[in-house]
């Protein structure tokens, strides 16, 4: 695949050269971005109303919470999120007064979720 322009989020695989899939070591977690994973496992896939139901954090709310954590340097580091260090965009994010707006948005979304009640089996 080295001659193709698009960048793959995962390292090249033998399967992309037309051969059967071959598992090499721990290719799984290394290649896929957390955002790609969360958007799928929290928001897509099959939902079955049944057994044990727990309403998980809405992906939008989760995203905002992560942004708030990034704004708090120490907690972000605890989470293993330090990709932003040295990134001027994220540093400005941490300084933004928008943090207050984010917190307000969190409260609004939480209220809306409570009002929604059970949906999608969550």
């Amino acid at each position: 695949m080295s001659d193709l322009s698009p960048q793959t989020s995962q390292p090249p695989q033998t399967s992309q050269q037309g051969q059967g899939p071959v598992f090499v070591g721990n290719r799984q977690s290394s290649g896929q971005s957390l955002a790609d994973v969360l958007e799928r496992v929290l928001d897509k896939g099959i939902v079955v109303v049944g057994d044990i139901q727990v309403r998980l954090l809405d992906i939008e709310l989760l995203t905002i919470k992560i942004r708030l954590m990034v704004a708090s340097v120490d907690r972000a580091r605890e989470m293993g999120i330090d990709w932003w260090e040295g990134d001027p965009f994220i540093s400005s994010l941490a300084e933004e007064e928008e943090t207050g707006k984010l917190e307000q948005r969190v409260r609004e979304l939480e209220q809306r979720l409570d009002g929604d009640g059970a949906r999608d089996g969550r």
């Binding site: 698009p6 899939p21 799928r40 897509k44 099959i46 044990i52 919470k65």
Partner: protein, 273 residues
């Protein structure tokens, strides 16, 4: 096993064995499936056969992954991220060889009996869904604005009026660039969709969640037959070649199990007794 009353689970009450069953996905029954060695929390992974369909699952300690734990951690991004990644890791391995319908989190059952009951009651829908995605995988394609379009650098303004005209032109150019980019993105999506069985556009991802600040112009998912992967990737390459000079990068992720193409209609599942 004595029949349990079909009551609502009591928050925090441990089940008899101290474990819960976590289901990753549904696969065709009756055929050998290579399940991964380990799943969430390094637990073993097994197959629960229910005739025409089967589920891939792990038994997990209820203290760590039972209902009370989920409720406690439902808003904890770090915990969710870890479980989500391990959940997808299992599915990512399965999709390499097998049709699999991925289950959305939390996907928790009291025990194998309850999971089996769910498989039986939803068997017809699952079989239909498996048939619909048979031999297909999902590829994610994202377009990111990573650079500026190649363009001539503006000359230095020679007067105040010249400067103001350059400013006005720059604003108009930006607007035109944005419009042109939009057309390019739409055309790119159309080309990709042409090479896929089914395609869908999702919300662009939040930069903080991705850890990158380039604007995401397109976040799409495509259901592609395994056999047609190379053709699809040729289309991706063509799209990338067209968009590269515009400062737009194409990124591909996958193969995913078909998360974006298994909506069975939640109302169908909820309506069943």
């Amino acid at each position: 096993m004595a029949a349990e009353p079909a009551s609502e689970p009591v928050l925090g009450s441990p089940d008899v064995t101290g474990t819960v069953v976590h289901a990753y996905g549904v696969v065709p029954g009756g055929t050998p499936v290579a399940v991964p060695d380990t799943g969430i929390g390094a637990a073993g992974v097994a197959l629960l056969d229910a005739g025409p369909v089967a589920a891939v699952f792990s038994r997990l300690p209820a203290s760590d992954f039972g209902e009370a734990a989920w409720r406690e951690h439902a808003e904890d991004p770090k915990w969710l991220a870890e479980v989500a990644t391990q959940h997808q890791d299992v599915l990512g391995q399965l999709i390499e060889d097998t049709d699999v319908l991925p289950l959305r989190l939390p996907a928790m059952y009291r025990d194998e009996v309850h999971l089996h009951q769910m498989l039986e009651s939803e068997s017809t829908l699952f079989q239909a869904a498996l048939g619909a995605i048979h031999d297909h995988v999902e590829w994610g394609v994202q377009l990111l604005l990573t650079g500026e379009p190649e363009a001539a650098a503006p000359s230095r303004p020679s007067s105040g009026r010249d400067y103001l005209m350059q400013r006005a032109n720059a604003a108009a150019n930006r607007e035109r660039d944005r419009g042109r980019r939009q057309t390019l993105v739409e055309d790119a999506y159309a080309a990709l969709a042409d090479g896929a069985r089914q395609s869908v556009v999702n919300q662009p991802q939040d930069p903080a969640l991705r850890g990158r600040h380039e604007p995401m112009l397109l976040n799409s998912a495509h259901l592609v037959c395994r056999r047609h992967k190379d053709i699809f990737f040729m289309t991706v390459a063509e799209v990338a070649a067209r968009l590269g000079p515009e400062g737009i990068t194409v990124e591909v992720s996958g193969p995913w199990p078909p998360y974006n193409f298994v909506a069975l209609g939640d109302e169908e599942l909820q309506a069943r007794p």
